[in-house]
Symmetry: C2
């Protein structure tokens, strides 16, 4: 499966969360990172090139900071210019049909504020309706969004957890068992850049593998106990 | 009351609905028309100028074609650059507090498709949540949106009706009686550009005044009948 990450961030070098996420994607993987502001700083989008890129991928991800409850302007421009009638929808427009669509959102405000009674008043689910409607109109299946709240305030362990979940979100088959997620992760570890990027990171990875294996042992023990009780 | 219409349309000369609406706003009125694509074709927004403009008005309207269930990109850029922390929200940001906020949307698809079971699947109310959240965060009161569906397919009489409702939306006090709306409209007629723009238009206006006066007579008759019955 090939994944296209359409990344929109006007100031990506200043974003610690984006830098952290991007550093984790191996260059030789099936994931294509595509940063719009870097490619099109003047908002002049190469429509034919973008359309060809979409056609060549199976999962399309919009990754962006959640500015005013939506995407930065350049991603909106991209939608308006690239997702044209008879390409993305309409009688002859079935290029996106059957692909998967996901959102990777970075949000500066705590999750609890995104509900009635909270400071933001609306849920992420409500605020992303325009993207849900876009996926629906173009025939893509809409994945649960991957939302990162207040990355800057996370502990190192929380950040590492975000990284694992992010990699799963980009390239793992949808809706699978815990055991299969674990296997997938253990396989990925060999490929990731992080293993080579310093001993502190390597230590963390070793720690994570340990946790996974401990969890497996615990689950196996629980299953055995259950079988004995029956 | 002073109204600022922030208009975003990348191709306004080709839009019959926008041309029709704009032609109806008198130049000497309390309505300021502000077309972003004309002012900032290169997406470089003069933030200080825009912030001063907002501060000088009581009702802020976003007027745009509903592209991919949201605004064109330049209006999003405007939100992200102009509505900054400590201007539009935050501890010292109360410039918008108490102002009114409205949407004027032109939509190319029939109203009935905007619901579960319809081709678009979501209502305009659901799809405009990001704007509702913006009004909420900045302390503006959110007006019912003014949505124009399939303007190109309307009869002349329907178009004229849209024009009247549009003018009410821009400059009339919110939530008032039918009689007050009629009085307001009759007063506005003297000011409008349309009266001077050709005999066909003048005829239409005369026709509308006639309809309003007939409606009033009917209402008065009904009231009399009711009183007699009591």
């Amino acid at each position: 499966m090939k994944t296209l990450v359409i990344l929109s961030h006007p100031d990506i070098k200043e974003s610690s969360s984006q830098q952290y996420l991007l550093s984790s994607v191996p260059e030789d993987s099936d994931v294509t990172l595509h940063h719009l502001e870097q490619l099109y700083p003047d908002f002049k989008i190469n429509v034919a090139k973008e359309q060809a890129l979409i056609a060549a991928h199976d999962r399309i991800i919009f990754q962006f900071p959640f500015y005013w409850y939506s995407s930065p302007a350049l991603l909106k421009q991209w939608q308006d210019e690239v997702l044209t009638e008879n390409f993305a929808y309409g009688k002859t427009g079935q290029i996106l049909q059957g692909k998967e669509f996901g959102l990777v959102l970075s949000v500066g405000i705590p999750e609890r504020e995104y509900q009635a009674g909270g400071k933001e008043g609306f849920s992420i689910n409500e605020l992303t309706k325009p993207f849900q409607a876009m996926a629906r109109k173009t025939g893509m299946s809409y994945l649960r969004p991957f939302t990162i709240y207040q990355f800057a305030y996370m502990t190192e362990e929380q950040k590492m957890n975000v990284l694992i979940e992010y990699q799963l979100y980009l390239s793992h088959e949808n809706e699978t068992s815990l055991a299969s997620r674990e296997n997938w992760f253990l396989e990925q570890l060999g490929k990731t850049n992080l293993a080579a990027s310093g001993s502190a990171d390597a230590d963390k990875l070793a720690h994570i593998i340990e946790i996974i294996e401990e969890n497996r042992d615990t689950i196996d023990d629980l299953k055995l106990s259950l079988e004995e009780m029956e």
